[in-house]
Symmetry: C2
Subunit: 876 residues, 2 copies
């Protein structure tokens, strides 16, 4: 049997959205539950795919099927397509599987031509209406189907109003409209060297093609990438008989939500306009009325609508977002879909639905979008202030939050001015590890270069600080101490504000409101914890982050990076002394200076984690990161350290690497300098003993060796760790256990995980590096060419944000299986950036990881995503 490419509304169902698109499936469903829907049919998403497969042509058999259904629609409506007397008019609208609001194109009033327009005029007794509809159709068709710029048509309309001395379209009469139609047709011909099509069948096929084509327009592509929608899905096309809200004062149109989409309040919410078509509601020329007004204006229709709303919410078991039209006092439903809502509203609706017995707790969890929670955890600008402010530039929304402060040019300056009580926004070309302290002290960070995964972005997200990155419109003159945006200068006395949710930059101070975690939030999180199987830990390098994460519900630290501590001002000199050491003894002496400071950091983290497990990673970055690189800086540091310039310069040169990412770092450092592992182990164990004694927490430190690629590497470093740890424990005469494990972040480690698990007591997947090496990308460099990869549709998503299941994920899966073939109960976690991504969390759940670890502000997201994963794929 040949494939069916067209479905009448009465033939579809809500669960056919893959084939019919969301809009089509819902029109079908509404038809079937007896709601008043203007009838029509849907051309399937498969027809769209076929259109592209056929090299952008609609095959004959599909065209035939369309016209067959059109004939049936004629019978149903008693009207005829292209008929002079009683013409059938239709709308042609896109409808993808996932909702893509405003992304796709729509054509109304299709079926009008110079003959049918007269029929419509006669039939309605309203020639002005008929010609108004016709001119609207011509403009939409020309714009959407033929790509004639809209403003050209609007000029004609404006001109007509100007000539007549009126302001509103409604003030133009029949005659004016006839003239405008003439002028529109002339413009069409001039632009396209062909007449506006009289043949209504040609109109229809061209319009369907245009909807298919719109699936690949740049807006749609960008939206899909942002929302992880594959381009292969395609869009359906809905062809529906027209009803008119603009045929007089007993007509109207509107949009409404069954509940308030901003607050979640359980009360009908929306607006409508009488004597108008849908586009007028959006256009903003006339001000629509709140939906409650309708009750006064037409009680019967309002009550019918209210009833339909209740029916739909109960039927779909979710808050609905609807479009309706009233034609001569008769109500028609044009669309319904699950309504988008703010995070705040989403929580309230979920809790209310459970309370009302409409949802189970699991339903509630599944209805939430984990990523949306993020906006609840950060301050935001006051909506009113935001409405009036005009952004001076836009960068990337690198880390959410709202920050206002005076312009500040360096980390040191931020620290100093913050200490003096000033609020500053740190503006840098790009940030580097030395900037961390200043970033923490500033209200927010604005960078000129760098993407969503640049240093600034990653660190800011980690600390929950607001950050806008890659804002290339900003020019920084650090020396003259100003920034310039579009010719306007801002000095260190001027305020700027940055919005980490939108990437907007403002040239003024804006008031913000702090995050408040309402009772609904707590309830949802408790449900999430009840249903998830994955543990959720946090990545935290200092007590402040650990505290924040603990408050957000982290059950331990999955990754404590010790190098961030090394950069702090009070210890970087000791670190540098260690690096320039010429003998083991010198190096040990320098390490002795760092020991008490490291120990103190760990104590703080253990205390904040209150006995929960803490995984601490040994020093990871290449040593040259701790040294300056320009001659001037080297000269200065040499002086400070009492070294010869040439000596220090030689060290810097010796440490230079062509590919530092693949260089002398991770456990390779400890192989060369085992005394580093010794010092760090001592700090880790001594701190644990001290906190155990002070607080009584039963701490089992987890010491993690990074960048292992070969079992013997781990064996070598482990020997030093065990020797040191056992000595410290013995000397302290306490009972303390500890674990030695490894990062799996090198492909070879995953491939040989069975061997490595002979030594490693736990695995933690470092998916940042694993992704870099599996793809052969450097994250620092990939930004430049990945934009081409997105544009050319080679990649549809950022492999550093969401795990690449086919490649990197295969290695993770393999490593878990191999590791557990050696050590049955091997604890496996993930501590890369991916650990906070919901899709990745689901993957981690599926491959059997023990926990995910993410930055503090991702912890609530991870808890929810983990619950969803376990509801979707219950663990045995």
């Amino acid at each position: 049997m040949a494939k069916k490419y067209v479905y009448k509304f009465a033939e579809g169902r809500a669960d056919m959205r893959e084939l019919l698109g969301g809009k089509g499936a819902n029109l079908a469903e509404m038809t079937n539950i007896g709601l008043p829907v203007p009838q029509g049919f849907t051309v399937t998403t498969e027809a769209c795919t076929q259109y592209y497969a056929d090299n952008r042509k609609i095959a004959d058999n599909i065209q035939k099927e369309i016209f067959k259904n059109l004939a049936d629609l004629e019978k149903q409506t008693g009207k005829k397509f292209g008929d002079k007397k009683n013409p059938l008019l239709v709308s042609v609208r896109s409808g993808a599987r996932a909702s893509m609001p405003g992304m796709m194109d729509t054509i109304l009033n299709l079926g009008l031509n110079s003959e049918t327009v007269e029929g419509l005029a006669a039939l309605t007794g309203n020639p002005r209406f008929a010609y108004d509809s016709y001119r609207r159709f011509i403009q939409m068709f020309a714009d959407v189907v033929m790509e004639v710029p809209k403003p050209l048509f609007e000029d004609i309309l404006d001109h007509a109003k100007h000539n007549k001395g009126v302001k509103l379209d409604t003030e133009l009469d029949e005659h004016d409209m006839r003239e405008i139609v003439k002028k529109f047709k002339a413009l069409y011909k001039k632009q396209l060297k062909t007449d506006f099509p009289e043949d209504v069948k040609v109109q229809l096929i061209l319009a369907v093609e245009a909807v298919f084509r719109s699936w690949e327009n740049p807006r749609a592509i960008v939206y899909r990438r942002m929302n992880d929608i594959p381009s292969s899905w395609g869009t359906a096309v809905n062809i529906q008989s027209m009803v008119f809200g603009n045929m007089g004062q007993d007509c109207g149109t509107g949009v409404a939500f069954t509940r308030n989409p901003a607050t979640g309040e359980n009360k009908l919410y929306g607006e409508y306009l009488m004597n108008a078509q849908g586009e007028d509601v959006v256009a903003g020329i006339r001000t629509p009325s709140p939906i409650a007004e309708l009750k006064k204006q037409n009680k019967a229709v309002y009550e019918q609508f209210e009833h339909i709303c209740k029916t739909l919410e109960e039927h779909y078991k979710d808050m609905q977002d609807m479009e309706f039209t009233i034609e001569h006092g008769k109500l028609y439903m044009l669309q319904t879909r699950n309504g988008k809502r703010t995070a705040h509203a989403a929580l309230k609706i979920a809790v209310d639905m459970v309370k009302a017995g409409m949802w189970t707790e699991q339903d509630a969890l599944m209805h939430l979008e984990p990523k949306q929670l993020d906006s609840l955890l950060h301050p935001t600008f006051e909506p009113a202030a935001l409405k009036n402010a005009k952004p001076i530039a836009q960068g990337l929304p690198a880390s959410p939050g709202a920050a206002s402060g005076k312009v500040c040019f360096s980390s040191a300056e931020a620290i100093e001015r913050a200490a003096a009580g000033e609020k500053v926004v740190l503006v840098r070309l790009e940030t580097s590890p030395e900037d961390i302290e200043g970033m923490a002290k500033a209200q927010g960070i604005l960078t000129v270069r760098g993407g969503m995964t640049s240093h600034a972005a990653v660190v800011a997200r980690g600390m929950g600080a607001c950050c806008v990155s890659g804002c290339s419109a900003v020019h920084v003159d650090e020396e003259k101490r100003y920034i310039e945006v579009n010719g306007k200068k801002y000095t260190d006395k001027d305020y700027i504000s940055i919005d980490g949710l939108t990437g907007n930059v403002y040239g003024e101070q804006l008031p913000s409101v702090p995050a408040s975690l309402s009772g609904d939030f707590g309830k949802i999180m408790a449900w999430a914890d009840k249903y998830r199987a994955l543990g959720v830990r946090t990545n935290a390098d200092n007590p402040r982050d650990a505290k924040q994460a603990y408050e957000f519900g982290a059950e331990g630290v999955g990754l404590c990076r010790t190098e961030h501590m090394f950069f702090e001002a009070d210890r970087i000199m000791a670190v540098r002394e260690m690096i320039v050491s010429k003998t083991v003894e010198e190096r040990k002496k320098a390490l002795e200076k760092i020991l008490p400071m490291q120990r103190k950091d760990f104590e703080g983290i253990y205390k904040e984690m209150k006995g929960n497990p803490v995984t601490i990673r040994l020093l990871d970055p290449p040593l040259h990161e701790f040294l300056p690189h320009t001659d001037a800086e080297i000269r200065e540091l040499a002086k400070e350290m009492g070294l010869k310039f040439s000596e220090l310069k030689a060290t810097v040169e010796y440490l230079h690497e062509f590919n530092p990412m693949l260089g002398h770092r991770g456990c390779r450092l400890c192989v060369t300098y085992p005394e580093i592992a010794e010092m760090q182990t001592r700090a880790i164990i001594e701190a644990a003993i001290k906190v155990k004694k002070e607080k009584g927490y039963n701490i089992t430190p987890e010491i993690m060796v990074p960048l292992v690629g070969e079992k013997k590497e781990l064996d070598y470093v482990r020997d030093y760790i065990v020797k040191t740890a056992d000595e410290v424990i013995k000397k302290a005469k306490v009972d303390m256990h500890y674990k030695v494990g490894t990062m799996i972040e090198i492909p070879r480690a995953a491939l040989t995980a069975d061997k490595i698990a002979e030594t490693a007591e736990f695995f933690s997947f470092g998916t940042n590096d694993l992704t870099q090496m599996t793809y052969g990308f450097s994250r620092d460099d990939a930004g430049k060419f990945l934009k081409d990869y997105y544009a050319k549709k080679i990649f549809e998503q950022d492999p550093f944000a969401r795990i690449d299941e086919n490649g990197v994920g295969k290695l993770v899966d393999m490593a878990v299986k191999l590791g557990r073939s050696t050590r049955k109960d091997l604890k496996c976690g993930i501590c890369g950036e991916h650990g906070g991504d919901p899709a990745t969390i689901e993957f981690c759940h599926r491959v059997g990881l023990t926990y995910v670890s993410c930055s503090p502000f991702r912890v609530p997201i991870a808890r929810l995503a983990a619950a969803q994963a376990n509801i979707r794929y219950p663990r045995g």
Copy 2:
């Protein structure tokens, strides 16, 4: 049953070498075929492993077994260990599974103490001999077992000779020897604070332990690494009753080969000394006589020896290297083993053995060491000249050959001086891609930095040029135009010579002899081709290399790197123009200039390959490699190109990458700039058409897309290739096929090879990059820390020289299987440096690759190794 740790010689066999070591197994075998062997027993390699497992202790049960066998030996010899009257003396010698000549320690005359020495004196009637033996034993024992420096003893001996006014040890009498023994014992006590052990059993156990310990001495570790011998094998210990070649003029000792090990001539070859112990032959104080002399001196013994040689060669079916001792006219065989031989001799012996019916052709192939062939393919210094020359420094033997020339400091200078007919050796700190032309024109290359896999080394091996790298004793002053080695300066008027086989550098001109491939070489190669299943191709970037490889038997080009061509002086400017282009049109214009030059290169290669397949890889390196990096150079180039300095500088900065190895290179370039793929495809196809028309070769060009990690990447580039190629072919109206395939060099490509094979028509494993990414090492940086990895035994071999089967190899195996699951007959090759490594070639054979591709000078090695692999693991 308890494990047996000790075997009498009569209990062993030649095929037990894993357990008994080579020496022990051969002593056993000689015993069993009735040859005169002083009896004894072997402590197994398992006892050695156990010794290390027991924390460097010989377990009681093993000690008991040793003394039980010693008791049996006493019965057999009628002597008693430690007996005053008829003492049994033994030698204690190491014997590993693989021959490690000179690497391990030996102790002779064990069993002597202040009592048994008198017994020996009485028994032999030769007190001088007894005390001479005793002092030798003390010295050896002190040195080998207790690590007392040998020179301290030699000082005493020298002193005694000096006092007496004599030159030779033999001129010292009994009295002198007694005095020396006293002084040796005193020295021993002074050094070790303990008396020299009188208890002969203590002597024995200490000696066995010392042999076990010697398995881990630095010499042994280095030797093992160089020869791929795992440290887990351990060494056996042979305890054998002593016979003496130094008891009078009817005694003697010698070493001999059944055939000439230098030339392969089938004639007994060796030397001996009468009245001497083995060490005297080696020491070089007395000059030994050629073995033929023995016939005159003692015909009976000579004939017996000749007969034994024949027996042994027939028994072992190989040329033997033997040690023997004559004690009072009686011949004893102390050792036999397959003799080491020069490459030249190896070929002759193999061919002779087959001629004589002793070996099959397969036997002959299996007896050859593929790596040894290399020395036959390059010139070498005249042995006589080499003997007298003293090296001034030593670097790494990066690429074999022998080169003499005047010192030269830059590539440009090398080109100029070579054109003027001068012979020069290019001396550089390190080389870079721009040096290639100069490297080709120089006699050889000497670099101060860089390892065996540095740029200089890789390129030199590729072109078959002699190269010594990493010679840090050389200081280059390019400006003042001299190099300095150990305080001596060499200017551009001075000759130096470098030996690529040894890494030696000489401060003078040395004569060399060219490579000559004798008839034996041809015969062996023909046999290799007959028995191998793997194809052998070459990596060749230019017609010269292609020609050389074709002469060496390459069956095609497996990798033609197009970027090397881009660096040549006549086109680098066009390449730079392409890079600074701001529009596609500008870029296409620049590419147009390169097109005819590329086409010409390809024509040359096709011609040299005479219709064999040629795989051409599209541009691979990041574009910044083609631009200068210092401001001065940028300024100069900007001037030359008519650009602003700031403009060019901005381009250089934009192209800068943190990790260029993981940056914008490979197919990523073609994704951004598909016009590069178009130009290169055009050149590849047009050249093939031209050569086909001219020469009638039926060429099927293979276009290889590098650095693919995702199928869609390959799809994207392939579309441009196919479109261009089809157009060219259509226009030329010829019948030409071509293939589009990919490098598998990114872990993700291997992991998703089933998808990639949907598009790729062939795979070629780029194991250099695959190794770098699988290990997370950058080859350019790893040298610095890998030395620690070898020292600490984390790695026992260089993963860039021999494929890492457990990690990288697992990916290769997986990719072949996945690829062929999609495309059954998928052609799979390897084109990394590993392609010329015999162990890797065996691996490639086992996982079912179609061919290996290696540098021209490795082609004969690969042919032999491929044959050996197929003999060892025959393909179905």
